[in-house]
């Protein structure tokens, strides 16, 4: 049984003068512990696909099944809880709550899950150690570099103990060195915590790091291959 299954997914935006078919009849599955890149040129539908995968947007047609749950049929309130407990998110930028420290940002997601104060503190500290920010826990986002901020975001995504982590162009705002080391870290987490990562990118160096590469073009899956 696949972790995630997209069945006949299509997405049409009707907000523009000419409707845009951002995704066209996508069928794809993702398994546990994957480390997968969604690639493709700008406008190919990567963000749209990740949003639908993460329950942030509804497809025009088709179903999304995660861990045997059809999230396209969920009530909004349940979907929020589902995201909280099943999906970790890393966005391109402005991920963190600017007024909270790195530690508090990681703790926050567990606060939403009603984890006890002691446990969430411990867990957050461990995760920040894991992502290499043991000495920056009390810094606010503005006191951290872009790469460090993304590490905090990954730590936060892991803190809720999700089934998988979605990251939409997590390295887009990073220089190549930071991008590289973020990927190192994600890979390490993938191995250490057996965590599934699905991230979009159009950075060749990042693509190289993925074990599976799904290429989108014009809202369709053009290629789906395993990196050796």
């Amino acid at each position: 049984m696949a972790l995630i299954e997209l069945k006949d997914i299509s997405k049409t935006y009707n907000t523009t003068a000419v409707p845009v078919n951002a995704l066209k009849d996508i069928n794809i599955t993702f398994e546990k512990q994957e480390f997968t890149a969604i690639v493709g040129p700008s406008g190919s539908g990567k963000t749209t696909m990740l949003n639908i995968l993460g329950g942030l947007d509804k497809p025009t047609n088709g179903t999304v099944i995660i861990d045997n749950n059809d999230i396209t049929k969920m009530k909004p309130g349940n979907l929020v809880d589902f995201r909280l407990n099943k999906i970790g998110f890393v966005f391109q930028a402005y991920n963190l709550i600017p007024v909270l420290t790195a530690l508090e940002n990681v703790e926050f997601i567990m606060l939403l899950q009603k984890v006890s104060k002691k446990e969430r503190r411990e867990q957050a500290e461990n995760l920040l150690q894991d992502v290499g920010l043991g000495d920056r826990m009390d810094n606010r986002p503005s006191q951290l570099s872009g790469g460090q901020q993304q590490r905090v975001a990954v730590a936060r995504a892991l803190a809720s103990k999700p089934a998988f982590v979605l990251a939409d162009e997590p390295t887009a705002n990073l220089d190549s060195k930071s991008a590289e080391s973020l990927l190192d870290m994600m890979e390490e987490m993938n191995k250490k915590h057996n965590m599934t990562f699905i991230f979009s990118t159009h950075d060749a160096r990042v693509i190289k790091r993925a074990r599976r590469v799904v290429t989108l073009e014009d809202g369709m899956v053009k290629e789906d291959k395993i990196n050796k």
Binding site: V80, F89, N95, V99
Partner: protein, 403 residues
Amino acid sequence: MYLKLAWKNVWRNKKRTLIVSASVFFAVILSCLQRSAQIGSFDYMVHSITKIYLGVLQVQHKNYWENRSLDDSIVLSDSQKDEINKIKNITSITPRIESVVLISGDSLVRVAHITGIDPHAEDKVSGTSKYLQKGEYFSLKDGALIASGLAERLKLSIGDSLLIYGLGFHGQTAAALLPVTGILKFPIEKMNTSTVYINIKKAADIFGLENRITSLAVMIDDLNELNRVSGDIHKFISSDETVLTWEELLPEIKQTIQFKTSSNFILIGILYIVIAFGIFGVVMMMTLERETEYGILNALGMKKRRMFLVTFFENVFLASIGTLSGIIAAIPVTTYLAHHPIQLTGEIAKSWEQLGIEAVFSFSADPSIFVNQAMIIFIISFICLIYPMLFLSRLKIVKALKK
């Protein structure tokens, strides 16, 4: 942690929060002072009118207040007075015979307001004895107590004779020659230049009234019970007699108070509308500039309800900073002023005295003043919450993340 987050959010833009807090601060101080002065001066107005000469209520013949004629006098039996005195909240009663007469000393003649009083009962109602400057008060029997301003004008002092000439019951002539046995100094100029007190028995003699009086003045201990007490008194008097409250006795005072209150409400209202826009502006900016953040939080799994809760806390903090500091600053000021009223001088003083009010600008430190200001600010800020509420209910993650 939600509270902590809210508190930190409030200070994201320090300058903005300080500006809106400062404007709330000044609005609260200003309106506290304004209300304090208003309530204080009205309380004082009512107090000085009722306490010094009017009484809170008066039992009179139903035509007396209009005609001011001794022919419209009344007879109250001892048992009636007893019953009235027993009514709840009534602290004291005193009978009076009032009339306007001509008086003269050696050669000068003036118009004076003469009142026949029972010295002890009158003192309980009006505290008259404390105005005594010279001579004796409680022994008043066949002599006259005269206000100091009037005494000066007539060049009278203790022991001198005072001639009274007026109109008695049923048009008979009322005249008497009385020795001055005391000089009273009243805080109200108008009273101080026109008042003569004589014993009520003597007054009955002079005016041929026998056991008739023109009014029974009544004091009560709680002004909120005014109308109830008035109703209770009605049970013990005849249909020719009536009970008038101070508001009915001096409608112009009531009107002045109402007019000033409403005109001040308009001013304060404008002030608060300005403040409301300030608060709303900040709430709106705080909401709009965080659309992406709200979107991310919602994506991560924070319910809109919970985001609204944090926003609600932010709002409470935002309103509290200015309100609490404003109240904390206003309390000592109003408390000081409440204990140290400002003595008025010049034209303003004259105009107050013409209304029969002591020219003192009083303040009130009544807690309700501060509570009311705080409530107004909080109501404003809760109304402002409608904006983030609608905003959050319409929030679309995908759209917010694109910003």
